[in-house]
């Protein structure tokens, strides 16, 4: 046990914590929210993407600090809720993205998430978890009908994962060298 714990700590020390340029996180968050809010007006298919979720996942995996990750997820989620209109109460996406931010930061602190395949898989997984959180919140807390998972959501998960691979590469440029 002692050796395992020692090895784990050694492994964790080898995972790099990335830092970003000043204002990069804020700018990326605001941009993702704006695009999410206005692009679907002109391109309805764009609604399948959840850019704020992808931003949350990316910064969670990169920062690798659960506290920072969950707080960032909370802020992004609440802002998304605020922009979503009266049908989405404040806290619906906030709760889901808080959890995603926490999970992404926790997993990012233990795994190498730089590989595109890992990013794809993790994004799909987080998308499902995110949808699960929303379904739970809607069903249990709001008593509203919400499917647990559908084919459309599966396709959306895959699309978001593909987009995430590309987006994460773009966001990597915001890191401090």
């Amino acid at each position: 046990m002692m050796n395992d714990a020692f090895d784990l700590r050694l492994a964790e020390t080898h995972i790099e914590v990335h830092k970003f340029r000043s204002g990069a996180i804020v700018a990326a968050t605001v941009l993702s929210l704006m695009l999410q809010a206005f692009v679907p007006v002109y391109f309805p298919k764009f609604a399948v993407l959840d850019l704020p979720l992808l931003v949350t996942i990316y910064f969670g995996l990169s920062r690798r600090n659960p506290s920072t990750g969950l707080l960032l997820g909370m802020v992004i989620g609440l802002l998304q809720d605020s922009l979503s209109g009266p049908t989405v109460p404040l806290g619906l996406y906030g709760i889901a993205k808080t959890i995603i931010g926490y999970l992404a930061s926790s997993i990012g602190a233990r795994l190498d998430t730089e590989h595109p395949a890992a990013r794809f898989a993790l994004t799909m997984m987080f998308f499902v978890v995110h949808q699960g959180c929303i379904a739970v919140t809607r069903r249990l807390l709001l008593a509203e009908p919400e499917p647990w998972f559908t084919l459309r959501l599966a396709i959306a998960a895959a699309v978001n994962a593909v987009v995430a691979v590309v987006l994460f590469m773009l966001l990597d440029r915001l890191r401090k060298s």
Partner: protein
Amino acid sequence: MAGIPSRHKSVVLLAGVIILQVVLLAVQIKRDSQGRLLRVWTVGAFSPFERAGAKGIGNIRGTWSHYFALQNTSRENEQLRRENDELKMKVNQLQSKAVEADRLSALLNFRQAQRNVPMLAARVIGTSADTASQTVYLDRGERDGIRRNMGVITPDGVVGKVIESYRDTAQVLLLTDKDSGVGAMLADSRIQSPVGGTGEPLLSMKYIPTDDTVNVGEHVVTSGMDRIFPRDLPVGVVTEIKTGRPFQHVRVRPAANLQRLEEVIVLLTLHPLEQKKETPAPAVPTAETPGKSVGGTAAVNP
């Protein structure tokens, strides 16, 4: 957060943030039928505790009131007992008044049946100071027309006669006194014989010949021969018969309750009452219709 290990801080933060947002959700959402979600949740969350608390408090209160708060119970019990006693007293008073009303009603009926005899109702206000004499005092006297040797009755029967009249009171010698007597006869056989007191509750019918038949339970009424009482007033009931020579010893229980006299009627006349022939008994509640009179004498002590 200072006392929490650093590796758990994020978990605590996560929990706190999620809870805050859940509360935020609750504040916003309003269910159509149940009001704001926060209220629904709050009620749902608190109601089990409230139910449990209410049940617990109910049990505690029940235990307290049934086992520990006996001081108040005892006090209430005493109060209720007092009230019960007061109510019993009132009931007794009402019953007494009802009995009195019946008695006065009977007096009135008797008065109406004996219209030709002047009468005066009087209340018994005292009794004899010694046990040897059977006398009572009335609240009426000479000013009301009461004189010595006037007869005193109740609707139930003969009481006695006035032996002394004062200005505002009169003394009545009861039938049970040794010196008292009244002209009487057996109601069925019409055998006449004076009835006198013995100093005891029972009267004595003294001069019934041994050959005459007397039955226990037979009624004894006034014969009118003493010129004090009208005929056929109830005197008493034969309760005991002993053979003797030359007369039987017949014991009579007075018709009037001489032990508990409250109101009486004084016959306001000293003139000899006229003998009515073949007249039915007066309309007295306890009087029974007698047969024909065979005449006789009365022995009344002065």
